[in-house]
């Protein structure tokens, strides 16, 4: 979908990806996160450093907010979830089942998961969908704090987060020819 694209992400740096719908932002981010292999080219840096958040939040509706976060904290081997709860103002909600939260609250829970992963590179796909202005500020603050600690972030978004970061326009990198030249014929 995209061709000739190349960039590096330094510690403490955030990169905003922009581009029209369907250009391949999600595909690019999923490739970087290691969920699908690139048709050509490579990703340097290692999947172990990346925390990925996609369109859906990965929340179990029957578990409470705390249980959801605790689960991810134990999967990633980190201890504390208090920081994540306070960063996204989830303390008043912490004993509620995640299923009864509003879309924006679920999103906040999904984003707070990034804090419990303890991984340096955040790969975020449209993180601000269904967030209100205040929550977007909360999110921007969390990203800034993460960058200040030497982490980095790769964010696909359409809105201005107020971050001091570079913007990469994906439009010019749209692949000209269909990218199926080396499609494995054995599958046909």
């Amino acid at each position: 979908m995209l061709a000739g694209l190349s960039f590096t992400l330094a510690p403490g740096q955030a990169l905003i990806l922009r581009g029209p719908n369907g250009i391949g932002k999600t595909t690019l981010l999923r490739t970087i996160a290691g969920l699908q292999p690139p048709v050509s080219g490579f990703v340097e840096g290692g999947e172990d450093m990346i925390a990925y958040a996609g369109h859906s939040d990965g929340i179990k509706p029957t578990l409470t907010v705390t249980e959801n976060l605790n689960f991810w904290a134990s999967v990633f081997g980190t201890k504390t979830i208090e920081l994540a709860l306070s960063a996204f103002d989830l303390e008043p909600l912490q004993d509620r089942p995640a299923g009864v939260l509003s879309a924006g609250q679920k999103r906040r829970l999904g984003l707070s998961r990034m804090l419990v992963t303890g991984r340096p590179i955040w790969v975020l796909d449209e993180p601000t969908v269904s967030l209100d202005v205040k929550s977007v500020q909360m999110f921007a603050t969390a990203v800034r704090a993460h960058l200040a600690q030497g982490g980095s972030a790769l964010i696909a978004t359409h809105i201005d987060l107020g971050l001091d970061s570079e913007v990469l326009e994906l439009g010019p990198f749209k692949a000209k020819a269909p990218a199926l030249d080396n499609f494995d014929g054995a599958f046909l």
């Binding site: 290691g34 578990l63 249980e67 999967v75």
Partner: protein, 213 residues
Amino acid sequence: MRDLRLALRAGGGFGLGLAFFLIMTVMVPLSVGPQPDLLASIAPGVLWLGALLACLLSLDRLLALDWEDGSLDLLATAPLPLESTVTIKALAHWITTGLPLVLAAPVLGVLLNLPLAGFKWVVISLLLGTPALSVIGTFGAALTVGLKRGGLLMSLLVMPLYMPTLIFGAEVARRGAIGMDVQTPLLMLAGISAASIALLPFASAAVLRINLR
């Protein structure tokens, strides 16, 4: 890892399989009619078939729920290897579905006029066989996870893989019930279980990786 099991237990309606098993074994004597001898001879087979179908019924939700809410993507990028994730999933499925079936089987055996000697072997064969059903089922669920109506396709894919387990499992129970030597089918059943537990998690993780693309 413990939490994953917890999450699964809270996440699915796993009582369904047990309810199905119960309904089926209660219905069989009613449909076959009042023939105690006939019932006694088909009881081991009916119990095994019921357990297998109940297992099949609950496979649908095994990975589909995690796929829908996106946690499968996140688990795939987590530090836990996908192989151990699917193993835990299968284990959780066995605990929530297989184990209750094993425990319910002797109770339902009474309804089917199962011979006294058979109870022990029905439980032993189910205890040995249901882990294989869970692991094979997880493989089937992994194969069809991205599909909209994957349930039908999964049943068709899993059915032939379930055959050997069913044949040897039911054979152990049948031979046990009529007092014959059970060693050969018992060893075969244990072998099937051991082999599928050892090998299939790798296959499941591999197809899951392909399906997540």
